[in-house]
Amino acid sequence: MAEIVSLEEAVAELVSDGDAVALEGFTHLIPHAAGHELIRQGRRDLTLIRLTPDVVYDQLIGTGCAAKLVFSWGGNPGVGSLHRLREAVEHGWPVPLELEEHSHAGMAAAYAAGAANLPFAVLRGYAGTDLPAHTQAAWIECPFTGERLAAVRALRPDVGIIHAQRADRDGNVQLWGISGVQKEAVLAAARSLVTVEEVVDELEPVPGAVILPTWVVSAVAVAAGGAHPSYVHGYYERDNAFYRRWDGISRDRDAFADWIREHVLEAAG
C-alpha cells in the first residue's frame, strides 16, 4: 500500500546516498520536482538511470549528485547538448561521471526483464556496434536455432521515481499519454515513488491509461506542476522556451549555480 506523503518525506524515506535511482518519463511526465528534491536533500554518489537524461539529469549531474549515469540518449531534445552532462564527462566537473551506455531497445528490454524478475533480457541488438564495450551486454545462443543474440543484464534500481497525472486516496496511480517505460521502472525497482498532479476520489477510466495499483508503489506525493518544463498530457503543455533557455543557463557554471540556488535550493519543496 502506497503512503500518501510529502515529497520531502518521500525522498528522505526512500532515497539514500549511493542508491541506484531511475527517474523515468519518456519526454512526457518527467519527474522534475522529485529531481529538485534530491538536489535539495544533497544526495551524493547516486547511480542515475534513465533512457533519456535531459534537463533534470543535467541539473542532478551539475550539482554533483551522481557518480554514474546509465542511459541510452543524453541531450536537450530539440535544442542540443546537455552542457552539465558534457562538462562532467569531458572535464570531470563537478565530479567525474562514470557512464554505462545502452541503446533505447537494450535499456527498455533491461527494464522489462527487471520488472519480470528475470536476470537478463534477450534482444536483436548491439551486434557490430561499439556499444557492448560500454554496457552490460553479452552474447547468447538460441537453444533451438543456434542464432546468436544479445543479452543485457536486467535493470533493478533501488528506487524508481515517476510522475503521473493522478492517484486516488488509496494510492492507486493513473497515468496516460506517452507512457514510456514508467510501469517497468516502478515494477523493476525495490522501492518506488510516484509524484502526481493531484489526488482524486475516483480514478475515472481514461483511454490508454496505465494503472499502478497502490500495493506495488511505496509512496505517492502530490507535486502539482511537478513535471515542468516537460508536459503532462491533459494538464499542461511542454515549456519549449525553457528548454531553449536551459541551453544558455547550463553553458556557464555560475549561471547554472545561480539558477539552481534560486529555483531549487531556495524554492519551497
Partner: protein, 255 residues
C-alpha cells in the same frame, strides 16, 4: 518562385524517398522534417512511428522531440517503449528507418555517440537512442546529414549503428534482420551502396553541385556512379509544404 536553399533541396530529396503507405520509424530533426514533408506531399498514407511509442502519428506541427503531446494525440495508438522496440521494430514490421548522424563511413556505418576518444571525448554527443536497432531491423534505412569531411569520414570515432559493417556479408554475419542503408541524402546529393561492394557511391548531385565538390567534401576517395543523375529541383508544391512545416514554437513564439 524557384529560389531554394541546399537545406531545402536536401529535405525535399529525402522526402521523395518515402513511398506512400510505408511504415516509417522516424528520428527527430532532419529525418522528422523530411518524413512530415513526405506526408504533406506525395505520401499522405505514410505511417509515422516515433520511438516514444506513437504509431501512426499525424502531427500538424513539426515535433520538437520524439515525444511531443501532439504525436500521442494524433496517433492511431500509443504503446510502451519496450513494446515499440520489441513487437514493432525488432518484430520486423517497419519498412523504412530514417536516421541522422554525426559521422558516416564508406560502408554507411554511423556515429551518433562521441567525437574523439570515448573516455576523453572532444565532443560528447547524445548517443545511440533508437538508432542502433533502427539501423539493424528496418527493411531499409535512409540517412540524412550534411556532407563534409567532418561528417563523411575514413574511420568513425565510434560505431553507434551498423550500415554494412566491413562490407559484403557483414550484416548476414552479424545476424541483422533489416536490409541496411539504401540511400544517404545530403545537402550536395545522394549516395547509395554499390550492389557488389556495399560501398557508398555518389549516385545523384543536386542542381548546381559538381561531382568534384562532393568528392572534395568526402573523407574517403568517393566513387562516382557511371550514370550520375541530377536531382529535380524542389517543385513549388514541395517548397510550399516544406516552408509551412513549423514547430509549435515557430507558429506562436513562446515567452
Amino acid at each position: 518562385m524557384n529560389g531554394y536553399t541546399a537545406e531545402e533541396m536536401m529535405a525535399v530529396a529525402a522526402a521523395r524517398k518515402l513511398r506512400d503507405g510505408a511504415a516509417c520509424f522516424v528520428g527527430i530533426g532532419l529525418p522528422s522534417r523530411a518524413a512530415n514533408l513526405a506526408r504533406a506531399t506525395h505520401a499522405p498514407g505514410c505511417v509515422l512511428i516515433y520511438e516514444s511509442g506513437t504509431i501512426g502519428a499525424k502531427p500538424l506541427n513539426l515535433p520538437l522531440s520524439i515525444g511531443d503531446g501532439e504525436l500521442a494525440e494524433t496517433a492511431d495508438t500509443v504503446v510502451s517503449v519496450p513494446e515499440i522496440f520489441s513487437y514493432w521494430l525488432q518484430g520486423g514490421r517497419i519498412d523504412v528507418g530514417f536516421l541522422g548522424a554525426a559521422q558516416i563511413d564508406r560502408y554507411a556505418n554511423l556515429n551518433s555517440t562521441v567525437i574523439g576518444d570515448y573516455d576523453h571525448p572532444r565532443v560528447r554527443l547524445p548517443g545511440g537512442g533508437g538508432a542502433p536497432e533502427i539501423a539493424a531491423s528496418c527493411k531499409e534505412t535512409l540517412v540524412i546529414l550534411r556532407q563534409s569531411r567532418r561528417t563523411f569520414v575514413e574511420t568513425l570515432d565510434f560505431r553507434t549503428s551498423v550500415g554494412f559493417g566491413e562490407g559484403p556479408g557483414s550484416r548476414e554475419r552479424l545476424g541483422l534482420t533489416g536490409g541496411g542503408v539504401s540511400a544517404v541524402i545530403t545537402d550536395l546529393g545522394e549516395l547509395a551502396p554499390d550492389p557488389e561492394s556495399c560501398e557508398l557511391t555518389l549516385t545523384r548531385i543536386h542542381p548546381g553541385v559538381t561531382a568534384e565538390q562532393v568528392v572534395e567534401a568526402t573523407g574517403w576517395p568517393l566513387r562516382v556512379a557511371a550514370g550520375l543523375v541530377t536531382s529535380t529541383p524542389p517543385g513549388e508544391r514541395e517548397l510550399e509544404a516544406l516552408r509551412s512545416l513549423r514547430t509549435v514554437e515557430e507558429r506562436e513564439p513562446a515567452g
